[in-house]
């Protein structure tokens, strides 16, 4: 995952490969978008154009779906995506302090990406592991029972 892929060839081959696997029908649109988002880190405008063309679905519709779901991003994301669970069970066991520490450490507000393209900080809906709140997720790794003091160490593992 790198920030702001501009290589149109890579975008094209990724889109073709994913659609080949999923099938070119509208009901596959969300699986297709999810997989491309996972492979490229986000959904570049060129990819959305290509999907619209191949699925014969209007561009407006492809974009409206891509912008609706929280896990799909139409903006480039950092190499590491830090997700903070902002749900009530995490909130009442000290989530707010962890969130403030994350913002301080990364110098980011929710939804922002660092200039060097290293980090993106976002909030996520409940991850369902509320027994060990507060919970954060860095890329695919889940951390439970997080305290503000641990934030620095956790982030350091990805530097």
């Amino acid at each position: 995952m790198t920030i702001g892929i501009t290589d149109p060839e890579k975008i094209r081959t990724t889109v073709y490969a994913v659609i080949e696997r999923c099938g070119a029908t509208q009901d596959e649109l969300i699986p297709i978008l999810s997989e491309i988002n996972h492979k490229l880190g986000y959904l570049p405008a060129e990819a959305l154009d290509e999907i619209s063309h191949l699925l014969k679905v209007p561009k407006s519709q492809v974009f409206s779906v891509a912008s609706f779901y929280r896990m799909l991003s139409t903006k480039p994301r950092g190499t590491h995506v830090v997700q903070f669970c902002e749900s009530a069970p995490c909130h009442v066991v000290g989530g707010r302090e962890v969130w403030e520490e994350l913002q301080d450490q990364l110098h980011l507000q929710s939804g922002e990406t660092t200039r060097d393209g290293c980090w993106t900080l976002v909030t996520t809906s409940c991850l369902g592991i509320c027994g060990v709140g507060p919970v954060i997720m860095v890329d695919e790794d889940v951390y439970g029972n997080v305290t503000p003091a641990q934030v620095k160490d956790i982030l350091a593992r990805y530097m």
């Binding site: 969300i30 069970p89 009442v92 809906s125 409940c126 509320c130 027994g131 060990v132 439970g144």
Partner: protein
């Protein structure tokens, strides 16, 4: 099936995996092979055993020994001692054994496990384990002995109601979908468990996926559907994986596919993953999302039973509703109806979270009181603090005060008290929680998750949030409470779907039960729970302060002044109310007002 003298359950929850559960599993397999024990000891992957805080962890049966904190290097010794010499290795025993055991072993006193009966006990990735627990027996009975009408009659008599929250009688729903004419019908399973704090469905999908599939196949036979979808949220990758494995195995055994049990009935299931949208838990939004569209609800009627997926009659139920079905068929409607209250039958799973001693999953008969759940099953409030409120029903539920503790948990009692059953999230809050802040918090969630289609929900929730943020920031003004009440009423009356109609509930319920806190914030500029930062000040008690300078050294903004061995003071204009001084003071000399 093979006979094993010992079963080892290794937790493969995301947290344990991160700590190396896979490596431990591999090493365990290798070592058992090396010692020639692989035919005597069965190794199973399972979901959460205890807390995972000290993973990787495993459970060994029949002894019921819980090991944790294992590394690959520990495995040869463990295998030699435990499985070869038969000696329990004390040093690996999980420190929290009393609690960790309770999650898995016999349920706590007031629990009854129906939906969760197999979770943690069987290998979810092995269909034979499920079959050994009478799995797919109900399906066989339905397909060979019962007509669809008889099944509907049995489910109606059992009193099973939708476990997704609304509580519509499941049998009636099936009847509607069956009656509606159409060559093609669909069945959907709502596994988009988006309520913060609710993870009952995840656990069922990860621990006992076949019970859900079996319930779905029975429902499909009844309504006449040949294709079904499980719509699972993408936040649950393990559940999606387990489900897919279960579906493959069910196909291989002939429980899914063409001509099931030679009955002429054919049905297949596909898993659809969401992409992060809370509103997709609403059934019409869920259907739109499966079709590959924006997950926006549409007005009902027509109900999905008439016009659902791709315009065809569709039956949609929640994971837990389907998981109850095989048990009802096998044990009978009377057995199920013997649990619960007059109108709410059976059991309900709850995910207990927040300031309670034992957080986690429970399953209790309906009609149990909130007090029993919190104190008898949940062990009471953490750190011996006082109880303040319990939030039941997810973000659209309500906050209930201490006076509601003896309320029985059933659909009607909760609704009339201003909360709701919801999908089963139960967040307990202690007396250091600010209820205005909590209401603000829930509104922040719902306004964020509002899909934006209808104005009352899109704009209304935003307006409520603005007022609440102002109140928490110490800028509340006369008339705010009245504005909130008006907004809540309008949004509830005019929103399109359950999200908007329920969104004001946290505000309505806190205004009803904790009005004095709103008044304190607005008129006295005071946060009684000392949570809202704009409304609190930190001060040093001159009689207690020893002048040790610890607070001054730790203050991130240098707001604390004073010389060594002299009383310090905090400059309120510089202070950012981070509370660090209070945490570091060894003499409890910092007070908050």
């Amino acid at each position: 099936m093979k006979y094993y003298r010992s079963h080892v359950l290794v937790c493969v929850d995301p947290e344990c995996l991160r700590k190396g559960a896979h490596e431990v599993l591999d090493s365990l397999q290798d070592e058992l092979v090396a010692q020639g024990l692989i035919d005597e000891v069965q190794v199973l992957e399972t979901s959460r055993l205890g807390g995972c805080s000290n993973g990787p962890e495993m459970m060994v049966y029949p002894e019921g020994v819980h090991y944790s904190g294992l590394t690959v290097d520990d495995i040869p010794y463990l295998v030699e001692e435990h499985f070869l010499k038969g000696r329990v290795v004390q040093k690996f025993i999980a420190p929290t054994i009393s609690f960790a055991d309770e999650e898995l072993s016999a349920p706590k006193a007031k629990e009854v496990r129906v939906v969760l009966r197999n979770c943690g006990k069987i290998d979810p990735e092995n269909i034979e384990d499920y079959i050994a627990e009478d799995g797919y027996m109900a399906l066989a009975k339905v397909l060979t002995e019962m007509t669809p009408e008889q099944v509907i009659d049995e489910i109606i008599r059992s009193g099973l109601r939708g476990r997704g929250g609304a509580g519509f009688p499941a049998g009636k729903k099936w009847q509607l979908a069956r009656m509606n004419p159409g060559d093609v019908k669909y069945l959907t399973c709502n596994a988009d468990e988006g309520d913060p704090g609710a993870f009952m469905n995840r656990r069922v999908l990860e621990g006992d996926p076949h019970s859900v599939l079996e319930g779905m196949i029975i429902a499909a036979y009844v309504i006449g559907a040949n294709h079904g979808y499980v719509y699972c949220r993408a936040e649950y990758p393990v559940a999606v994986r387990t489900l897919n494995i279960a579906i493959q195995q069910a196909r291989a055994f002939g429980f899914l596919g063409e001509n099931i049990f030679g009955s002429g009935f054919s049905f297949d299931i596909e898993v659809r993953k969401g992409a992060g949208a809370f509103v997709c838990g609403e059934e019409t939004a869920l259907i739109a999302s499966i079709e590959g569209k924006r997950g926006e609800p549409r007005p009902r009627p027509p109900f999905p039973a008439v016009k659902g997926l791709w315009g065809k009659p569709t039956n949609n139920n929640n994971v837990e509703t389907y998981a109850n079905v095989p048990q009802i068929i096998l044990k009978g409607a009377d057995w199920f109806a013997s649990m619960g209250t007059a109108k709410s039958k059976g059991t309900k799973t709850f995910a207990v979270a927040g300031d309670v001693k034992y957080t986690g999953l429970i399953e209790v008969p309906l009609g149990i009181t909130i007090r029993e759940v919190i104190y008898d099953v949940g062990g009471g409030i953490k750190d011996n603090k006082g109880f303040k409120a319990v939030q039941i029903g997810g973000p659209m539920g309500g906050c209930l005060p201490a006076s509601a503790l003896d309320l029985p948990i059933d659909y009607e009692s909760l609704s009339s008290a201003g909360a709701m059953m919801g999908s089963g999230g139960l967040v307990v809050m202690d007396d250091e929680t600010c209820m205005v802040d909590i209401a603000r918090f829930f509104m922040d969630f719902t306004q964020d998750e509002s899909c934006g289609k209808c104005t009352p929900c899109r704009v209304g929730t935003r307006r409520i949030l603005e007022v609440l943020e102002r109140i928490c920031a110490g800028k509340g003004r006369d008339g705010d409470i009245e504005t909130l009440e008006m907004l809540c009423q309008d949004i509830m009356a005019t929103s399109l779907c359950g999200l908007g109609q329920g969104a004001p509930n946290p505000v309505v319920s806190t205004l009803k039960h904790f009005r004095d806190e709103y008044i304190a914030h607005i008129y006295e500029k005071r946060c009684p729970a000392k949570v809202c930062k704009a409304l609190i000040t930190y001060a040093i008690l001159p009689d207690v302060c020893t002048g040790c300078m610890v607070c001054a050294r730790n203050c991130p903004v240098e707001a604390i002044h004073g010389e060594r061995r002299k009383v310090h003071t905090i400059d309120p204009d510089v202070c950012i109310r981070c509370g660090i001084c209070m945490q570091v003071c060894n003499f409890n000399a910092v007070s908050v007002n």
